[in-house]
Amino acid sequence: MINGKPLLWIDDDVRYLRPQVKNLQDEEITVEVERNVDQGRAKVMNSEGAYAGVILDVMMSPGEAYRNIDNRGGLITGLLFVREMHMLGLLASLKITVLSHRNDVGAEEEIKSLGVDYCHKADHAGIRIVDFVRDQFGG
């Protein structure tokens, strides 16, 4: 737990997720993983302070919520997610950090302009993920 709350990680990249989540759990940081962006979105919408924060991937299956929007085949699903949270005013009450493999300068700049940190998975793989999470979300 971080400040008594779990962390929500929305990402469908199982290969990256599995070892990182294990590292976090070894440090007694509880992580709720949501591989489906629609369900992750629903959790965030109804969270009401239930999570210490959200780690979000950029490249994900677009799901039903973003299917009709130009998501570039899922390459910028995370950006659409951040945009929606910004429009709904949820970013003020919930810390979201983007963690992605993608090097898309445009998407990165837009996400940062909305007040959301954009970090690269490769820089925070392995046990480095624990320090990263503590830096980002406290605890």
């Binding site: 290969r15 994900m60 299956s61 085949g73 390459l75």
Partner: protein
Amino acid sequence: MPDGQRPDDDLVSKTTMYAIVAGVAVLFTSFCIFVVMHGAGLLTSDHSESILQFIVIAIGFFTAAFTFVLALLAVNTFGAMREVREIRRDAEDMVTDMRTRIEESELIVSILPEYFAEMLHASEDAMQGDARGRRRAHMTYMHLGNWFEMLRLDPVDPGRLDFCREIIGGMSDIENANRRILEETLLALTHLVAARPQLAGDARPLIREAHRILSEMKDPVL
């Protein structure tokens, strides 16, 4: 073997054969019953018994039983033939699958050395304190892993799209790109869309992105 060349499900002809066999059996049995009844004198007013009537009754019953057994055998034979066809079809699918796996394995074997060489170089750069080298080593590992995971799925499994997305998206920075993996991923994506046109909407931007990356890679990074 492609679908078009398969001995496809000949449901209509089988149904026709079953109908013919059943019809013949019914007609013959009716005829035998008629013979039996006639032999027993049930169709006439004369109910007197004789050896001849007994013989006719016996022949009638025997013929009816024989016809019934023949019909049963015919139905069993058709069932067995259908089973053989199903087994053959499954075997053909397995052979196709195994051939694909062999081709993919050969591809993997040919790619692995250069890939590990790249990981080695990137790791050596990282040892010198180069953060980009560390990232490149990680991405190299991720691309290869995602590609392997993708190959484990059936070539027409929609789940391949997610792996294609990870690979292509991760190579958007051409420093982390690998031409061969990208080309193979593009090929897999094209096959997937051909087999499942409903995925075209999601796949088309990825294909465009892959082509963009390939066009920007003047020299293969690896």
